[in-house]
């Protein structure tokens, strides 16, 4: 929500950017003795980005490159009866037009990491408004755009299902109605039932104990229905890809978060080996889950295959919204508390409107079922979650997926229970949240966080005990996500002849700071200056395999792989040192920048020169992480959300304004504290969006607000001036130096925090996010009229 249009006044006076002071933030390095990690060094890509020198996919131009524009379906469900491309082909500058029919010459026409249900272009049938139907490939985007109007598509409309209710009705048309084999990277083992005989794409059932028994023992029960909206994980950079197919290889440049996942789908579609496919990802202008997995890369590659030249597809924001959104969630839930005030049972049914293709919704479904339990040790649990196909834009990952959308209801209900018990939401949570090490979720890793301590820190920042001013209220909420960071990560480092280092990583720099953090880790391990480390990332032909850049995994898993790769190189260097020093390796000690035996020191460069007999030679250190050892148990870490707000409510209009925002990042150890806090603030800001105003709305078959005029994302002016952030650094994670993932957690509790604060301020409870002014006003009106009736 804007305060009218208050734009923050920013001083843009040119300065020497690299000399900008770094704000002092929580830093425990004085206790731990770290040299480079746990320090808020400036981000390494910062200057390149603010000066416009950083390379993004849209900057890439190849010789003979053409541009494609996509003809999209105007209807939600229809048979394609004909596509006439002849007039478009006659237009000067048009090279080719690709349709679904043409794709049938490819080894495979469909892809999908979870369920391979996604056609590269609609084949015979369209199943949502905005689905790509044809691609016009031309010498320029403008020519392609004009020629799009010459492509004549005729449709025979079918009944469409837009809502979950419609999709699950017995009369509903089955959107897919065919058997799929499981995709290669489901993230879990079961076979898929997606869409064979109904519109259920995936279901997840989680439970233990006996909920009926639990509720029979409960002395207080709250039951409710909650709705969390469809949202778009807006990134400043929309989807963009350049495809370049030659006789025996395929190269795709893309804004993808997970290049290796995209490589798999491309190899599948084109019948190539993994080695033949190269996916290169330069800087990415924000991901937030919207760029997880495969998006427009197969289409860009197919256009190149068809037009026999490199082809770039650059989408705008409007088309990007039609490409992927977040699942919404309708949650029906009840929670019971026993006579000791302990949560004894929770039962929930969740319906996700997952749109036309599975994308990552099967995993969102699975995670939603887990994460609605919350960080509480509840003896009796039963959760049923359904991901449902509809004739709407496909849903997939959205930052913190599976948590934000159910935590709204889950943590609203916790406050409702506390209220019913006449108790404060903080003390209720302090009694009920799991202890550090407690296995509150069967068969999963015990809680690797001090959540009670985090809650106390949060309460202090919110000045929880101080009475808020009139018209204001405070609210808080917590979450614990079983991080979907499946531990398959490999990394390599090259130690160059002069002692400098290159880190080779499959982690994509999305703006989250991986280039900085991974360099800090390598510098720490070798005892060399940060400036001596370079990072090369996300080129599948060069860097070792990494499963994804998502689920807050990079610091924990890639960070640890880089650390182990450095250590593996140092072990090699010790062997070299043994030869050089003439002593057994175990007598050699590592020191800053090299090795030492007694009072003899050799720098890394000297060791290499001594070993190879010539300067400028180099060695490679490598590390393979898999589900073994301390990474065997899942999740590799619990990502904690612990955030709260103070809000001011304009009761006349229903408008909520945040007056304070507080969040605790329980990250084990922040490799770069300033960036960790920045991630927490960014995540919380996204939570302000879906908490207060962000929602995609369908009007019949059409998305009514698939543009930034009508779909508002948070701005700096939506962030309160009073922001308080703290990091908990107990070094209790499986990552390097005890680090754990962060950067998504603070989003998850935000909408519930706002709803809880609204209740404290006004006594009204809103069960539908976002809490728009009109929803709040309607709730206030309802309260007033029920009070009048009571009088």
């Amino acid at each position: 929500m804007s305060r009218d249009s208050d734009d923050a006044k920013v001083d843009l006076t040119p300065q020497n950017w690299s000399d900008l002071p770094v704000e002092p933030v929580t830093d425990v390095s004085h206790e731990t003795g770290f040299q480079v990690v746990n320090k808020s060094v400036p981000r390494r890509d910062g200057v390149a980005k603010v000066t416009g020198r950083a390379l993004y996919t849209s900057d890439i131009t190849l010789p003979r490159m053409a541009h494609a524009r996509i003809v999209r379906s105007p209807v939600a469900h229809a048979r394609i009866t004909s596509i006439d491309v002849s007039a478009a082909l006659e237009r000067p500058g048009v090279y080719a037009v690709l349709t679904g029919e043409d794709l049938k010459a490819l080894p495979h026409t469909h892809y999908g990491h979870a369920v391979p249900d996604h056609a590269v272009l609609a084949i015979d049938k369209v199943i949502f408004v905005g689905e790509p139907v044809a691609a016009v490939i031309a010498a320029s985007e403008r020519i392609a755009q004009q020629a799009m109007e010459d492509v004549v598509v005729e449709y025979d409309e079918l009944d469409a299902v837009i809502t979950v209710d419609e999709a699950l009705s017995p009369e509903a048309p089955v959107i897919h109605g065919r058997a799929f084999t499981s995709g290669a990277f489901r993230g879990f083992e079961e076979e898929t039932v997606a869409g064979q005989t109904s519109n259920i794409c995936e279901e997840a059932h989680v439970g233990w104990g006996d909920v009926e028994e639990g509720f029979s023992q409960a002395t207080t029960i709250v039951e409710g229905e909650y709705y969390y909206p469809m949202a778009y994980a807006y990134a400043m950079e929309p989807y963009v890809a350049v495809g370049d197919v030659s006789d025996n290889s395929l190269t795709v440049y893309s804004s993808a978060q997970h290049p290796f996942m995209v490589r798999h789908d491309l190899a599948h579609v084109f019948g190539m080996s993994l080695g033949q496919v190269r996916v290169v990802v330069p800087y990415v202008g924000g991901g937030y889950g919207s760029k997880s997995y495969t998006k427009i890369e197969p289409l860009a590659a197919a256009c190149s295959w068809w037009a026999k030249r490199p082809v770039k597809i650059q989408l705008g924001v409007e088309e990007s919204i039609l490409t992927t959104r977040g699942d919404d969630a309708l949650v029906r839930m009840r929670t019971g508390v026993d006579s000791d005030g302990r949560i004894i049972a929770r039962e929930a049914t969740i319906y996700l409107n997952s749109g036309a293709y599975a994308e990552n919704s099967p995993l969102v479904c699975k995670k939603s079922a887990n994460r609605i339990v919350g960080p509480y040790a509840i003896p009796h649990v039963k959760v049923d979650c359904y991901s449902v196909y509809t004739n709407t834009c496909p849903a997939s990952s959205f930052r913190g997926f599976g948590a934000s959308l159910v935590t709204f209801g889950a943590e609203s209900q916790i406050d409702e229970l506390a209220e019913k018990l006449g108790e404060d939401g903080l003390s209720f949570r302090l009694r009920n949240v799991a202890d550090e090490g407690e296995r509150f979720f069967p068969k999963m890793r015990g809680l690797d966080a001090n959540l009670k301590g985090d809650l106390r820190k949060l309460a202090a920042m919110l000045e929880w005990d101080a009475e808020p001013q009139a018209g204001r209220g405070k609210g808080l909420a917590v979450s614990a996500s079983d991080a979907g960071a499946h531990p398959i990560t490999t990394a390599a480092i090259k130690l160059h002849g002069d002692g400098s280092v290159t880190v080779l990583t499959g982690s994509t720099e999305l703006g989250q700071g991986s280039h900085t953090v991974l360099a800090q880790i390598a510098a720490e391990e070798f005892g060399i200056p940060l400036e001596s480390v370079q990072v090369v990332a996300s080129d599948t032909a060069i860097v070792p395999f990494e499963r994804s850049t998502g689920a807050s995994r990079t610091t924990t898993l890639m960070g640890r792989a880089v650390q182990e790769a450095c250590q593996e190189a140092i072990a090699q260097l010790c062997e070299m040192g043994s030869e050089a020093f003439g002593v057994p390796p175990e007598e050699i000690e590592q020191e800053s920048g090299g090795l030492r035996h007694g009072d003899r020191s050799m720098a890394w460069s000297e060791l290499l020169t001594s070993f190879f007999g010539m300067p400028d030679c180099e060695i490679v250190g490598r590390a393979y992480l898999r589900r073994a050892g301390d990474l065997k148990e899942l999740p590799p870490f619990w990502e904690i959300g612990c955030a709260g707000v103070e809000i001011e409510v304009d009761e006349e209009t229903g408008r909520i304004e945040l007056t304070r925002l507080a969040a605790v990042g329980d990250v084990g150890l922040a490799i770069n504290p300033a960036m960790a806090e920045g991630q927490d603030l960014g995540a919380a800001a996204m939570g302000i969006g879906t908490g207060l105003f962000e929602e995609l709305v369908y009007d019949g078959q059409q998305l009514a607000n698939a543009n930034l005029w009508d779909y508002r994302v948070p701005r700096f002016t939506d962030i309160p001036s009073d922001v308080r952030l703290e990091l908990t650094q107990d070094q209790n994670g499986v990552g390097p130096y005890g680090a754990k993932g962060g950067g998504e957690g603070s989003l998850n509790p935000m909408s519930a925090s706002i709803a809880n604060a609204l209740y404290q301020a006004t006594g009204v409870r809103v069960h539908e996010a976002p809490l728009t002014p009109e929803r709040v006003w309607q709730a206030l009106q309802a309260k007033k009229s029920s009070q009048r009736e009571a009088e």
Binding site: R142, Q146, E318, Y711, R712, E774, W777
Partner: protein
């Protein structure tokens, strides 16, 4: 990504030349100043022109001046220039305030007030306040010059009373006497305002009664509008003004013919009109002169 279709920019050196260009171009051309609405709409493909006639190359349209007790604002003057103009800040601070709230920094730096009016997008902040201020639009063509009131100027959403070859050269705003009080309030949820509400109150000599009143509401209908019933209800003693506000708000809402849509239910908009009418009146009366 949608790209702007190719078009030509013509650079007239006089209003007459601009008018001639527009006449010969017909539907294939349009006048353009800041382009903040026009170019965005062309990019989306909703409007298509082969030629844009750049009003900014016409000398003499970039001035803000006072003439015979009226403020003249030229067609090429940006929102930002009006917001920061010492003349406007001194003589008509409410307009400076309204302009400071338009859209965002980029739009204010590029977009012009006259362009905003000519595009006739229903969610215009300045249009609502200018209606309330009895402003006029000066339109010129090779056939001569005429002045239209804001009410006459707006025909509907994206539609004005301008002839094909007419160029708006200025907006003229009568400057308020010392006994006038005025304010503008807006309510915004998404990118465009949900509601804009302007009031102008003329106080009697004793300062204890509203002699005449004007109230305009914008963004809730195709064009901003006033209600004579509401204005009659607002006139009268200050001490009972608060009691009359609810009815006046209803009158404004009745005039607006409110609809349920994505921006809110008709019921909610009616309520908002009352809330912001009250707030605007309160703010207007807090000042000791015709300030914002």
């Amino acid at each position: 990504m949608n790209r702007l279709p190719a078009f030509t920019i013509s650079q007239p050196q006089s209003v007459a030349e601009a008018s001639e260009m527009l006449a010969s171009l017909g539907d294939s051309g349009r006048l353009y100043a800041g382009g903040t609405e026009l170019l965005a709409t062309m990019k989306e493909g909703a409007l298509l022109y082969d030629t844009l006639v750049d009003v900014k190359t016409v000398p003499g349209l970039a001035d803000i001046r006072v003439q015979d007790g009226e403020l003249w604002i030229g067609a090429a003057v940006t929102h930002f220039s009006i917001e920061t103009s010492p003349i406007v800040r001194e003589l008509l601070p409410v307009l400076s305030y309204v302009e400071s709230r338009v859209a965002n920094t980029r739009v204010r730096a590029t977009g012009t007030l006259v362009g905003n009016l000519c595009f006739a997008e229903p969610h215009s902040d300045p249009a609502t306040m200018l209606l309330c201020l009895d402003a006029r639009v000066v339109a010129q063509s090779t056939r001569g010059e005429r002045q239209l009131t804001i009410d006459e100027f707006f025909v509907g959403a994206y539609e004005t009373a301008l002839e094909e070859d007419e160029v708006v050269t200025s907006v003229v705003v009568p400057l308020p006497p010392a006994n006038w009080r005025m304010a503008y309030k807006k309510f915004q949820i998404i990118e465009r305002p949900t509601l804009g509400l302007g009031v102008v109150l003329e106080l009697n000599d004793g300062g204890d009664s509203v002699a005449t009143a004007r109230a305009a509401v914008g963004c809730v209908s195709e064009s901003p509008l006033r209600s004579s019933a509401a204005e009659a209800q607002l006139a009268g003693p200050l001490e009972s003004l608060l009691e009359r506000l609810d009815a006046a708000g209803d009158s404004l809402a009745d005039e607006a013919d409110l609809l349920d849509d994505r921006e809110g239910s008709a019921e909610y908009k009616r309520h908002l009109i009352k809330v912001f009418l009250k707030r605007a009146v309160q703010q207007a009366l807090q000042s000791d002169g015709p300030s914002r």
